[in-house]
Symmetry: D2
């Protein structure tokens, strides 16, 4: 079951061309990721400053199909997928007024935050992958 996050485009998201600045769409997708973690019971403060384990992004990409404007009401649909024992990807679909305006992807690895060495995903992340993943 995919997770869906709702977000209004804000003035600060836009640039002098009158539309959303491209990199901000990836930031909105990351917000959807954060919202899905919170919904699954994760404490975001602890999750993102955990001195033991971290899930840095090693790859991100985004395709834009239509421009986004200040005030647009977005739905971001998120589907995570396990990649290997120590990594996962998240696919995002950004919709406005029932049209797909962008698609994005982030790829994450699980590391020991101190040594920055890769390690297996925790039980909690496996559960989060199962909860929102596409099966």
């Amino acid at each position: 079951m995919a997770f869906t996050y709702h977000r209004t485009v804000r003035f600060q998201d836009t640039d002098a061309a009158g539309v959303v600045y491209f990199a901000n769409v990836l930031a909105m997708c990351h917000e959807a990721y954060e919202a899905s973690l919170a919904t699954s019971g994760f404490n975001l403060k602890a999750f993102f400053s955990n001195p033991a384990v971290a899930f840095p992004i090693v790859r991100a990409s985004v395709d834009f199909f239509r421009p986004l404007f200040c005030g647009d009401l977005l739905s971001i649909r998120l589907i995570p997928q396990k990649l290997q024992e120590d990594s996962f990807t998240i696919a995002y679909e950004v919709m406005a007024t029932e049209k797909v305006v962008a698609k994005a992807m982030t790829q994450h690895v699980c590391i020991d935050a101190e040594s920055r060495k890769r390690q297996s995903l925790s039980v909690e992340m496996e559960q989060w992958l199962q909860q929102w993943g596409d099966r």
Copy 2:
């Protein structure tokens, strides 16, 4: 009657000190302003890219009382006040878990967007001031 906006602190709002980057609190306050305009029926896309009239900020200030962390659930209370025929201020109170974490202010003037000369507030803005102002 003041307007209240709810907002979760996101990862991108934070900095390497582990708390929200100071200037982002003003941006969150501006989001509350945008949300109050939308609630009053303004079309945000038109409002913020109107070639005829604009309401640029000529002064802003913010006081911080407590640090803000990723995942914190904020309530931002906004009270606008007319200053002169062509200007208004907005007072913001940022609350987290029932404590005031920051207070901010923005001062706006009404200008002809082409000539950038000051002009009187429109009827719609007068109504917005009445709707959310403190009387």
Copy 3:
């Protein structure tokens, strides 16, 4: 001949994990693009708010090899390449202390800013592509 842009990582680029927030690396690459345009004689204000022609990004991607910290001195090497009559890509290589920390790509199309229809690249953009492109 590639264009190289120098940039210091700033506090606002970082997040609570202590490193640069992922989407900000794409923004830094866009700065390199802007700097290359300015060096080629483009007026940036006119270029980015031109009511006649625009070059929106239709695709972007980035790979991260190492974390970036506040104060890091970056060199961003940019190589544009013509794709079709109405499009081009830019490859970016982000270096810190002589190590590649990230690689990115943006793909742009040339459009009539009013109708948003695709059109051929202007002579000036062809020259920019020749000036910094890899031949």
Copy 4:
């Protein structure tokens, strides 16, 4: 002797009104602060993630006199001043083409980063205040 920082306005600094988004001017002033610290020999990574001592901003304000556009070349003049044993302010003057476009202020306190209790400024910060302060 004041410190001067040079900065080009970038596309991401702007918003759909075609000028720099207000809160980004404070972020540019903070960059000037970071540059002055680096010039005085501080290691920025250590300074901003020091687990022992931090200098959070408790108050900030900014006045805008003219709009700023993408590509504008800015000079930001910074003058710090000691306030009390545990606090200082920084005054910023933002210039473009020899005109003052904005003035800003940040007020900082020195705290133990663990307990968040106030403590006296370190010798290094006293020296930084002397180096760039107005005497």
